[in-house]
Amino acid sequence: MIRDEPQAATLLAEARSVLSDTILPILDPSLNYEMHMALKAISLAEQQLNADAKLELMLLEKLDQILSGNDSGFDQAEVLAERIRRGALDASVEIFDFLDQLVNFKFLETTPTGE
């Protein structure tokens, strides 16, 4: 283990709990909206830190495979977007499944847990 404990996600969870359990109940109600926004931001950052790095890597590998080892020098997402736009991948089940996995991965990261 290179980093010392507690790690970033744990620190954020702790800070979020202090804000929501201790500060929010006594906060001037006119600042509730701002506090909820801040709690949401912390929660999203936690989700991102806890995201499965292996899954991210797997998605990148799959994209490389779909693009048959694209070596055009362009960003992989850019190449995929361009091929979709020009109609080279219309109604492709393989592409749809990949996009579905991609969006589900991102969706998990953006669903706050405990605000």
Partner: protein
């Protein structure tokens, strides 16, 4: 000090001329929330002399100091508001237009003050607002039909360009252009746009469309609808696009089960629309425009994220907006599965 405070004297003088009064005093000027592109001010005025003598509440609407492109000018918006008000749409009555930018620093217009709650998440949750929800759903359908009853040509709306082809094709082109300008590849949005290109609605009618008709852009009091707001994106287009935008899942807030704007079921809203318009809703076209609604909202969210990332505007709200993209993209994919594509 706001620019209304800074220019109170010249605004009072202008109001006196506009209202035909001897004198106008602004007793209170308060900014209203909900305008990122436009500024709205609630003005409480005491008018002495002339046909409008007495105490009045007005709303002043002007460009915000940082103008975001792609919306009507205040003069054009005023003229749209006049046209829809004349046709019986429930809107705040537009009263006077000021094109002189020297009065408060930009063009503005004055409309009658209409009170009510407009915040979308609150409206769908708080059932004490809007009266009976079935009746409200039907009323909203009727309002939209009244907007769509305005067909081109209209002399007072000559500044609105007529679509040269299928409006959906034009929207696809604009969204692709906006994505290119952002310089960020979004394969899922491209997937949705390509699907749209192959699934265009056929033979759309052309009517006036509000183009942002959704929960959050109208006001409710305890009894019902008090005013439809935010006409800055109005244009000639396919009327089914307004129905798709209103029913899109992203505008139902915490009530995704109530498919008509989080207010009521789709059938009730359609019933109000069809009864008032005498037209049958093209459900396939509505479904197409719901896909487009999610793509359009995603592109707007991306533009706002870029605005934050560029440092042009610092705001936590703006920083968080990009996080809604996965839910919008998920919805695009749900509606454009491979077995739902027409052959190229």
């Amino acid at each position: 000090m706001s620019r209304i405070d800074d220019n109170r004297f010249s605004l009072q003088n202008w109001l006196a001329v506009a209202t035909g009064a001897d004198r106008v005093e602004i007793i209170n000027a308060k900014p209203l929330t909900g305008g990122a592109i436009q500024e709205n001010w609630r003005l409480e005025c005491d008018i002495t002399g002339g046909p409008n003598a007495g105490s009045h509440g007005y709303v002043l609407r002007s460009d915000a100091e940082s103008i975001v492109a792609s919306s009507l000018t205040r003069e054009q918006e005023f003229r749209v508001l006049k046209a829809v008000h004349k046709n019986g749409v429930t809107v705040p009555e537009p009263l006077w237009l000021c094109k002189d930018t020297k009065i408060i620093g930009s063009a503005f217009y004055i409309m009658q003050l209409v009170t009510g709650i407009g915040l979308g998440p609150k409206i769908v949750k708080d059932l004490s607002l809007g009266g009976d929800r079935q009746a409200l759903g039907e009323a909203l359908g009727k309002e939209l039909a009244t907007i769509h009853a305005i067909r081109p040509p209209q002399a007072e709306l000559e500044f609105l360009p007529l679509p040269t082809g299928n409006p959906a094709e034009e929207v696809i082109k604009q969204l692709r252009k906006q994505l290119d300008e952002l310089g960020e590849a979004r394969p899922i949005l491209e997937w949705g746009l390509r699907w749209a290109e192959l699934n265009l609605p056929t033979n759309p009618k052309i009517t006036l469309v509000h183009n942002d008709f959704r929960t959050g852009n109208y006001l409710l009091n305890q009894n019902g609808l008090t005013g439809i707001l935010d006409w800055e994106f109005a244009e000639w287009g396919d009327p089914m696009s307004d129905i798709g935008w209103f029913c899109a899942k992203c505008w139902r807030f915490s009530r995704p089960d109530l498919e008509a704007g989080g207010i009521t079921d789709r059938e009730t809203f359609y019933k109000g629309y069809e009864a008032a318009s005498g037209q049958t809703i093209n459900k396939e076209a509505v479904s197409f425009w719901e896909v487009m609604a999610h793509i359009r909202w995603a592109v707007i969210a991306l533009q706002q994220t870029h605005r934050y990332m560029s440092g042009a505007q610092k705001s936590l709200e703006l920083a968080l907006i990009g996080r809604i993209l996965p839910s919008l993209e998920q919805q695009v994919l749900k509606m454009t599965k491979p077995d739902n594509w027409r052959a190229a």
